[in-house]
Symmetry: D2
Subunit: 344 residues, 4 copies
């Protein structure tokens, strides 16, 4: 059993503690949070778990094998680096760090010490996203033409990050996993409706190379909660609606056929193809449980995590570019994928 | 009774003929189209109506008072100008013309001759959009913060215009009518998935001045038909879903309250307000019928149309800017609202 | 071309005239209605068609080959019988007659004269219902276990028939066509909320023989319009929702497996099987157009109509039994399928 | 703090333990179940709680104040009676007992000993149902005309009870609470599709007196999960859809107006009224938590529970009548509300 400590018991922390408790592979030895009331709640729900305000004591506890970090973003780097230096495996909440340079440093540190560094891109472990990847990999969709996501709701306004860092991060992790989209350039627009606050509504276009276009619509000030993604392929197209109770993924045998002929008119060139729709059955295991068992596998077998430090870094690079573009009213920002040299 | 001729009997033409026939204010004396098969169909459905391939004969027919033009966009200007010069009132399909300069010339010509020039921005005459305008005008929504529309479906790929000119035109006309949004600048991204064809997927951000942001997502290559608009106000917010059979407009008494205090943390500053939702009853009269009776009113009383030439021009100016931005991968394009001098 | 007359120009009449005009197989020579305003509307929409208050003149017009009857139910029998006796083919609105005895008399008369007698069970000609029948016939659903329909909306309250005669008639015609359900017995409950009016809400259970159960929920006083049918098969199950804009028919690869073993507990006996769902592509041709071309085929080739007099009779027999049961607060009423001898 | 024991740790047990643990008014001292694997699961999730196969030891434990029973229905009576006789307050899963006579005995025993006896009619404590009751009580709906519920899904087939006892029980408890419906007579139809098993599909009509009609459609063999109730009032009507993530309750300002005049035709008599729809904001507190705090209130203050033994009895009486009717193919069964004398 891998003995874990969970740092940060806010919105997501209880889910981490419950899943680490019930995975069958891991146990929770301690929880830390700066807020007293949260520690009280943690002990009411998980009577056997140590609760403390002192994260450092857990990080340096020799009885702890792995540390899960679910604090505000700005604290990720320091806590994760301290845990790695203390020889612990690390699972960090998304986004992995506040800057791509920080992400690179964590990757280096984990590699040097042969420790597992993983970022909690939870959606990658859902039955829906895994099924979509399977369909894409099998070629069922043909060439992927676009990824178009709407991810909006009312709240939770953040202070330290804008809505792109909070919500678009999910789509960027899905795009990386499902489409192997290597973002080449980004343009973003957004606006803040709270004086002095970060942008609470934003639109992000990602040019992935080839003729694959990504677009992400994120909003903290929407009257309704929407989680809908269209994925357009040359052969088939997907609607992935995470608000559906069932049939979250629908595959449409629809598209166009283009006939090039010397005499054909434009309308005659384009044929509209419309066939059956189907909704594949999805695994319903809780994503976080799948993820934690994968984390345990990586620790025990030294396997490379699906959502390791590099996946975290790739997302943060796009987030940085998006923020830069948004501050410049949509100016295109190219993304540099050259390996960087980071001073230790 | 105002005697009308309808030029162009493609997708929209039959609706024009039917509504002009049944309005009680207008009659149809002739229909023209270049395609023989369409003229046959017109005569089977409307046995009493003259059908001809010769549009000019209708335009110059002294028995015709008004001309409705529903041809491809490139032909709008020449036909509308000819009709105005022949002394006819004109209703043109959207977008009014292929360039803003053409729109200005039509406006001038109609003004000079004291004729009614109207553009068929049909959505403006729907019960839904009229109700939304009423709510906005009464101040029920408070300051408008954003307009966010998704208007996607499979087809109909156009050759002469891109998807923005085909679909975003609806949202731009709604924004003008409902929000009095004067577009100051535009940024747009898009892509073509048919070699040599115009963009079939596009994202358009409109900066309207103040902190009002517009965003329009249009796509000819979507597996599903979506017509959903979020309108965010400081006091209330609207979801307008035109695919709903009933309750197309939902008004949410939701939003945030911002408390500024010296000591307050950011999270404490933002309060989430959530109250009832309601769906106002909407008038169900067919929009095109309402529009045609308004056209008749304008002709008979010399009233200024709600969707006159200027409304058409304002939309075309944004369309031009959007295309320019899209060709430059999202570069911000400012819109010049200075009155232009057009040589006659 | 088969020359037709349409008797009754109320709610459904305009659809009949339009489809008879555009079928390519039939033309409309005359329309009759007792109300003057409806004749005016008919002439405005169909300028070339004769409009009269005198139905008899159309029925006896030697230039008329076929008569379509869309009047209130009570008038069906007299008009249809007169038309048959005048040697015309007949298409009658549903339900075919007000009593099963009347239906038998029409069947006899048409047989004697070798004329086509058809009832307008429109749903049978929709792409959705035809696809469902195809799936059932191919055995894709396995043994059919139940048919469960909800068909409710606000209005239109009828005076001469209760809600079962108005709405359940659709489901009974679908059940007959799709399931070959021979109703053996019926139990029904209902209530009137208008003093002196017929029942406006009713629930009808049909025992079809074997273990196939039908249930139909009809209501004129519902706040929302629902048209949803579940069809449960031993192998697969269908949801048919006619209010959907697309994907009206969904086929679920779901069900139970029953394992009988000497030692198995009940829960262990029942296995829940859950696979993919798919929505087959449906033909979108207007049902009434398909039906009218089938009517023309029957007239010209002497073929037996899918919805001939016998189909109309089978439905009326269940309606009669349902009304009887409802008046006796749910008492089971057996249906006699013995061929009856009807005095001419 | 009220010290509780939970007997039965199957589907619902974990929810009981969690809510009794976190209510702030109660604690859980022990859990019992006959299955070893469930006791293991209970201890993994709630490390501090005693887990035993011996329910009797908990019932007679002097450290236990109250007992919650969530076992199969047949065991309710013996366990509840034993707990009452041991001086414990009792919360029993629905339906309260397997027969109305058993329910009467429990009521008597609890009354004699001045103990709280409550049945877990959970829906009564949801924000949705409480809001509906509030609207009905205020007269917003006018006279209630019908209650029409569809409650279907795939599974969980029960051995000892039919689908009415399993699912319709929810609607009957809601009808009692919301409409003060006193069921006068019942007619039910159903069918079993598993040889030797109880009915898995059933339709239940409840005559409540006056012109109020109830109808409940329950099914364990549905491809989709539906939870939709229409409540028709003379002034307004409700759609309550528990599968919606938000706006579960919609209130429609729709209905008919009946004008009686000497000369009026039937159609002229009936006017269709259609106004706005609204969805009131609902409390989102977990129903079981509300219920458990109410249970604690009743124990501490001796208040009468909203869902006390009498509410449980009223439901069981209708269930008994429904089963009887179903076995007799829809025969009407009157319900006797006379107080019965139960031998001790």
């Amino acid at each position: 059993m891998i003995k874990t400590a969970v740092i940060g018991y806010g919105y997501w922390g209880p889910n981490l503690v419950r899943n680490f408790s019930e995975s069958g592979r891991t146990t929770v030895v301690g929880v830390s949070d700066l807020r007293e009331d949260r520690l009280v709640a943690a002990q009411r729900r998980f009577p056997g778990v140590q609760a403390t305000q002192d994260a450092a004591s857990l990080i340096h506890d020799p009885g702890v094998d792995a540390v899960a970090i679910s604090t505000p973003v700005f604290a990720h780097y320091d806590l994760a680096m301290a845990a790695l230096k203390a020889g612990k495996h690390v699972l960090v909440e998304k986004p992995i760090t506040a800057t791509s340079e920080q992400a690179m440093r964590l990757i280096d540190e984990a590699a040097k010490r042969n420790l597992t560094l993983m970022v909690d891109h939870t959606f990658v472990y859902t039955g829906a996203v895994r099924k979509i990847r399977e369909l894409v990999q099998k070629g069922d969709l043909g060439d992927i033409l676009y990824y178009d996501s709407v991810r909006v709701n009312l709240g939770l306004f953040q202070r330290d990050v804008d809505v792109i860092w909070d919500l678009a991060v999910h789509d960027l992790s899905i795009m990386n996993y499902v489409l192997d989209c290597k973002a080449m350039a980004v343009t973003a627009s957004g606006m803040s409706h709270v004086t002095g606050g970060p942008e609470n509504i934003a639109y992000l276009t990602v040019f992935c190379g080839g003729n694959l276009l990504g677009h992400i619509n994120v909003n903290w000030l929407s009257p309704v909660k929407l989680r809908r993604t269209l994925i357009g392929g040359a052969s088939r197209m997907i609607v992935y609606d995470d608000m559906e109770n069932s049939e979250k993924v629908k595959v449409y045998d629809k598209g166009i056929t283009v006939t090039n002929g010397p005499e054909s008119t434009y309308q005659a060139m384009i044929g509209y193809r419309s066939g059956d729709m189907y909704a594949p059955q999805l695994e319903v295991t809780e994503a976080l449980g799948v993820e934690i068992r994968h984390f345990a596998d990586c620790i025990e077998n030294g396997a490379k995590p699906i959502t390791g430090g590099e996946a975290g870094l790739a997302v943060v690079q796009v987030l940085e570019a998006a923020t830069l573009s948004m501050r410049n009213r949509g100016q295109l920002v190219e993304i540099n994928h050259e390996p960087a040299i980071v001073a230790a």
